[in-house]
C-alpha cells in the first residue's frame, strides 16, 4: 500500500503539472484545470460560507470532505500536490540516523495552531471576507506555479529555443519568497506546512472525528522500538495512540514496523483479528480530536471576526479612488467578487496577454493577490474570455464572447474607460501627429475619434493636427491604446476603472 500511495502521489503531482501546463490559450479546450482547487474542502467550504454558493465543480471539495469523514486524511497523503512536493523535499533532507528522525517527527502542540487558523479563516468568511485562498495549499501552489515557476520555465525555454513568450508578474518576488520558505522549512521539520500551518489539513483533520477506519497499533505486538515514528511525516505519534486528525494515512509506519503491529483497520473489524491463540484484541482506539482548549478556540473565533471587521472597515468595496482596480471582464461587483475570489492565480496563468496581475495595493488589503488588469504588462484581448472559463468559484463569471462583445443588445462589457493625458499626448502637447491609439483600438466603430485643428508651428508654418478624443460610450477599457502608446515610460492614454459595467453605480452617462 505504501507503493500504491507513492504511485498516487506521483500521479496527482504529474496531473497537477499537466493541468497547469494546459491552462493556456490554445491548449485549454475543455480540460478541467480547476479540479485540484475544487477538491480542496477549505476552498469549497470557505466560498460556501462567504457567498452561499457552491460554484461549478466545487462540490468535489465537499466530496473530499465526505471521503475524509470515512477514511481519514487520505487527501493529504495521497492527493495533495503541495503535500507531495513537501514530502519529496523532506525526504531529500532527512537525516541519516533514526534517532534524529524520531526526534524531528515528535508530535508538538504547535500542530494545533493550524486548527485555530482554519477556525479564524472560516469565521472571517462567514462575514463575507474570504482570505482562505491565501492559505489554501492548492491555491498557494497554483499561485506560485502561475507567477513564479511557469515564467521561470518560460525563461529557461527562451534561453534555449528563443521562442517562449515572456511573462512577468508584479509581486513575483514576494510569492517566490513565500514559496521558497514553505519548501525550505521542510529541512527543519518534515512537512512543516502540513503539520503546523495548513488550514485545509486542519479542516480535514477535524472531519476525522468519526472516521470509520484508521491505522491502529496492536499493543501486544508492539515492542515500543519507535521505528514507526522515524518515518511518520505527519507526526501523528503512531507509537502511542495515533492521532487520526494528523495522520496522512501514508502507510509508512505500517511498512516500517518490524513486528507488524500497525495496520489499517475498519473500526468494525475488531473481532476479526487473531493473534496466535489469543482472540482478544488490544487494539487501542485512535484519538480523533485535537486537544484544544476552549480559550484558544474562542480566541480563534474572535480573531476571525477581527480580521473580517478590520478588512471591511477599510471600506474597500465602497470607497472612491479605485482607479487602478480594473477587474477582468465578467468579474462580479466588488463585494460579491471578494466573497468568492480564492486568489488562486489560474486566471493570471491562462491570460494570453499577461495583463492579469496579482493586486498589491490596487484593491486594498482585502484584495491582496486578487486579479487586476495592469496595462503596463498587457491589454485585454477583445475576443477572449479565458479568465472566466477557468475561475473555479465564479468570481469571474463564465461569459461567452458574444456577451462580452455586447451581442445582441449592444451593451458590451466594459472594464473601465481610457483617459487622455493631454500634457503628454503628442498631438496635444508636442504639436506632432501620432494616432497609434486610434489605429489599434479594437472596437468597431472605434472608441477614439479625432478632431482636426490647424495650428501655427514654431517655425511659422501651419499644420493640421489630428487630436484624439475618447468616446466614453464606445470605450470598453481594454487598454490596447495604453499598451501601444509610444510613450512607454508613462503612456499618454491610460485606462481607469470608472465606467465598468459590473458596478452599476460607478457608471456615468
Amino acid at each position: 500500500m505504501k507503493r500504491l500511495r507513492i504511485y498516487y502521489q506521483v500521479f496527482f503531482l504529474a496531473l497537477f503539472g499537466v493541468l497547469m501546463w494546459l491552462c493556456a490559450q490554445g491548449r485549454l479546450r475543455g480540460y478541467p484545470v480547476t479540479w485540484f482547487l475544487d477538491s480542496s474542502s477549505l476552498n469549497a467550504l470557505g466560498a460556501l460560507v462567504a457567498s452561499w454558493n457552491v460554484a461549478h465543480w466545487m462540490w468535489i471539495g465537499f466530496g473530499m470532505l465526505a471521503l475524509t469523514a470515512v477514511l481519514g486524511r487520505v487527501f493529504c497523503g495521497w492527493v495533495c500536490p503541495l503535500g507531495t512536493l513537501l514530502h519529496l523535499v523532506s525526504w531529500l533532507a532527512e537525516p541519516r540516523s533514526a534517532k534524529e528522525r524520531i526526534a524531528r517527527n515528535r508530535w508538538l502542540s504547535a500542530q494545533n495552531v493550524k486548527f485555530l487558523l482554519v477556525l479564524a479563516l472560516l469565521t472571517a468568511a462567514a462575514f463575507g471576507v474570504l482570505q482562505a485562498g491565501l492559505f489554501d495549499p492548492i491555491a498557494l501552489l497554483t499561485r506560485s506555479t502561475a507567477v513564479v515557476l511557469a515564467p521561470l520555465l518560460g525563461e529557461a525555454q527562451h534561453l534555449i529555443t528563443r521562442t517562449a513568450p515572456e511573462r512577468a508578474f508584479q509581486g513575483a518576488a514576494l510569492i517566490a519568497s513565500v514559496f521558497c520558505a514553505v519548501l525550505a522549512l521542510n529541512v527543519w521539520r518534515p512537512r512543516f506546512w502540513c503539520r503546523y500551518v495548513c488550514p485545509l489539513g486542519a479542516l480535514l483533520g477535524a472531519a476525522t472525528r468519526w472516521v470509520l477506519g484508521a491505522i491502529t497499533r496492536d499493543p501486544q505486538r508492539c515492542t515500543n522500538c519507535g521505528l514507526c515514528e522515524s518515518v511518520c511525516p505527519a507526526a501523528s505519534s503512531p507509537s502511542t495512540t495515533i492521532k487520526t486528525h494528523e495522520c496522512f494515512v501514508c502507510w509508512n509506519c505500517v511498512a516500517r514496523c518490524p513486528e507488524d503491529a500497525l495496520e489499517w483497520r475498519w473500526i468494525f473489524n475488531r473481532h476479526k483479528m487473531s493473534f496466535a491463540n489469543d482472540t482478544k484484541c488490544r487494539m487501542s482506539p485512535p484519538a480523533t480530536r485535537p486537544d484544544l482548549s476552549r480559550r484558544s478556540l474562542l480566541g480563534a473565533l474572535a480573531a476571525g471576526v477581527a480580521i473580517a471587521a478590520g478588512l471591511r472597515l477599510a471600506g474597500t468595496t465602497k470607497r472612491r479612488g479605485f482607479s487602478l482596480r480594473i477587474r477582468p471582464p465578467g468579474a462580479l461587483p466588488e463585494a460579491d467578487f471578494l466573497e468568492r475570489c480564492l486568489k488562486c492565480g489560474l486566471c493570471m496563468k491562462v491570460c494570453p496577454t499577461n495583463v492579469l496581475q496579482p493586486a498589491l495595493t490596487e484593491a486594498g488589503v482585502e484584495g491582496f493577490m486578487t486579479p487586476v488588469m495592469n496595462m503596463q504588462y498587457g491589454y485585454c484581448e477583445l475576443n477572449c474570455t479565458l479568465c472566466g472559463q477557468v475561475c473555479p468559484t465564479g468570481a469571474i463569471q463564465r461569459i461567452t464572447i458574444a456577451q462580452k462583445a455586447g451581442h445582441p443588445d449592444g451593451r458590451p462589457i466594459k472594464t473601465g474607460t481610457a483617459f487622455f493625458d493631454r500634457g503628454r499626448c503628442l498631438p496635444w502637447a508636442m504639436q506632432r501627429n501620432c494616432l497609434v491609439c486610434q489605429e489599434v483600438c479594437p472596437v468597431s466603430p472605434k472608441a477614439i475619434y479625432t478632431v482636426d485643428e490647424e495650428v501655427l508651428l514654431k517655425d511659422g508654418t501651419r499644420a493640421v493636427l489630428r487630436r484624439p478624443h475618447v468616446d466614453p460610450a464606445r470605450c470598453i477599457g481594454c487598454g490596447l491604446c495604453q499598451r501601444e502608446c509610444p510613450l512607454e515610460d508613462k503612456p499618454a492614454i491610460r485606462v481607469s476603472a470608472v465606467g465598468e459595467t459590473r458596478a452599476g453605480s460607478s457608471f456615468y452617462l
Partner: protein, 326 residues
C-alpha cells in the same frame, strides 16, 4: 457478552456513535455540496419596480389656462375648466403631490412653487375626500427647504402632510428608454400613492433652457443624479416616461426669467399671473415656454418627449384646450 472494555477495543455503543457521526458528516458535506450547487452563481440583479401610470381614464389631452391675480382662484378656475377636481380625485384616494421644493429660497424669488398655489391644490384634494401627502427630494436639507419655501405651512394649513425623504424610502425603479433604464428613486411615496399631481414652478434653466412639468420629476431621483447633466435632455424625456401623472398644475404666478434654476434675485422674477392645469405634460411644458419667452422649438427635451409620444407640444390642437380669465 463479556465486557470488552478491558480489551481496549471499541464498545458497540461507541461503534454506533462513530458510525452515526460519520454518516451524518458525509450527509452534511454531500448535502451542502448538492444543495448549494450554483445556487447563487451570480448575485441576483436588483429588481426594479415599475411605476404604473397615475392617469385617470379618458382624460388625455386636456389643458386649461387661467389668467388673473389671485393664485387660489386661478387654480380653482383652471381645475373647473377641466371638469372639476372630482373628475380626477375620488374619496379615499391617496394623493401624492410633487411641488418644486428644490431649494431653500423664500417663495418670492420664484425658484420654487408658490405656497398659495400648493395650498389650493391640497385643499381641493382634501375637499374631494382624499388623503394628501406632499414630497420632494431636494439637494439641500429637506426640512429646511420645506420650511423656507413656505410649502410645509401651506400643506398643513390645507389639510395635507409633508413626507420628508429618508434613506429607507429609496429603491430601484425602471425609468426610461433613452438614457437611464433604471435608477434609484424615492420609491415608497410612489408605491403608496393612487394619484399623483405635479405642481411645478415655471422657471428658466441654465442647462436645459426651462424647468417645468417634466423636469419636476427629477425630485424623485436618488443618489448620483449629478451625472445627469451630461445628457440632460434625454434624461428629462426619460422622466416623462417614468411618470405619467394624474394632473399637472403649472404655477405661473411668478416666473423665473433669468439665472434659473436657483435664481436668487428679485430682478430675475416677473409676475406671471397665470396658472395652467392639464393632463398632457408635454403640451403644458410647451405652453409654459411661451410665458418664459423661450421658443418651445428650441427645447430639445420637448421634441424628444413628443417623439416618444408622451404628449403633444401643440397645445392649441389638443382635444380639450380652454382659456379663461379670472
Amino acid at each position: 457478552m463479556k465486557s470488552e472494555r478491558d480489551t481496549g477495543a471499541l464498545t458497540r455503543r461507541e461503534l454506533l456513535k462513530r458510525t452515526a457521526g460519520a454518516v451524518a458528516l458525509v450527509t452534511l458535506a454531500g448535502g451542502a455540496g448538492w444543495f448549494f450547487h450554483n445556487r447563487r452563481l451570480a448575485p441576483p440583479p436588483r429588481d426594479a419596480a415599475t411605476i404604473a401610470s397615475f392617469a385617470v381614464p379618458d382624460t388625455r389631452g386636456m389643458v386649461a389656462v387661467a389668467r388673473g391675480t389671485q393664485p387660489a382662484a386661478l387654480v380653482a378656475a383652471a381645475l373647473a375648466e377641466l371638469g372639476g377636481i372630482k373628475r380626477f380625485i375620488k374619496p379615499g384616494d391617496r394623493v401624492l403631490i410633487k411641488p418644486n421644493c428644490a431649494f431653500d429660497r423664500p417663495p418670492h424669488l420664484g425658484a420654487t412653487t408658490s405656497p398659495d398655489v400648493l395650498a389650493e391644490v391640497v385643499r381641493q384634494c382634501t375637499a374631494a375626500g382624499a388623503e394628501v401627502r406632499v414630497t420632494d427630494n431636494p439637494i439641500n436639507n429637506a426640512e429646511g427647504c420645506f420650511a423656507k419655501t413656505g410649502l410645509r405651512a401651506a400643506t398643513e394649513r390645507a389639510g395635507g402632510s409633508v413626507w420628508l425623504p429618508a434613506p429607507g424610502m429609496f429603491g430601484a425603479a425602471r425609468v426610461g428608454t433613452l438614457k437611464i433604464p433604471t435608477w434609484d428613486v424615492m420609491l415608497a411615496p410612489l408605491l403608496w400613492a393612487t394619484k399623483l399631481i405635479g405642481v411645478p414652478a415655471a422657471k428658466t434653466h441654465n442647462l436645459c433652457h426651462v424647468s417645468l412639468a417634466m423636469k419636476n420629476w427629477y425630485g424623485f431621483l436618488g443618489h448620483g443624479r449629478a451625472r445627469m447633466h451630461q445628457a440632460i435632455h434625454e434624461v428629462i424625456a426619460d422622466l416623462a416616461t417614468f411618470i405619467t401623472p394624474t394632473l399637472v398644475i403649472m404655477d405661473g404666478t411668478r416666473l423665473l426669467l433669468r439665472n434659473g434654476p436657483t435664481g436668487g434675485s428679485v430682478a430675475d422674477v416677473a409676475p406671471g399671473n397665470v396658472v395652467a392645469a392639464g393632463t398632457d405634460q408635454v403640451a403644458l411644458d410647451a405652453l409654459a415656454c411661451t410665458w418664459l419667452n423661450v421658443r418651445p422649438d428650441d427645447v430639445e427635451f420637448i421634441h424628444l418627449a413628443a417623439q416618444l409620444k408622451l404628449g403633444s407640444p401643440d397645445w392649441h390642437a389638443l382635444p380639450h384646450f380652454k382659456e379663461v380669465t379670472v
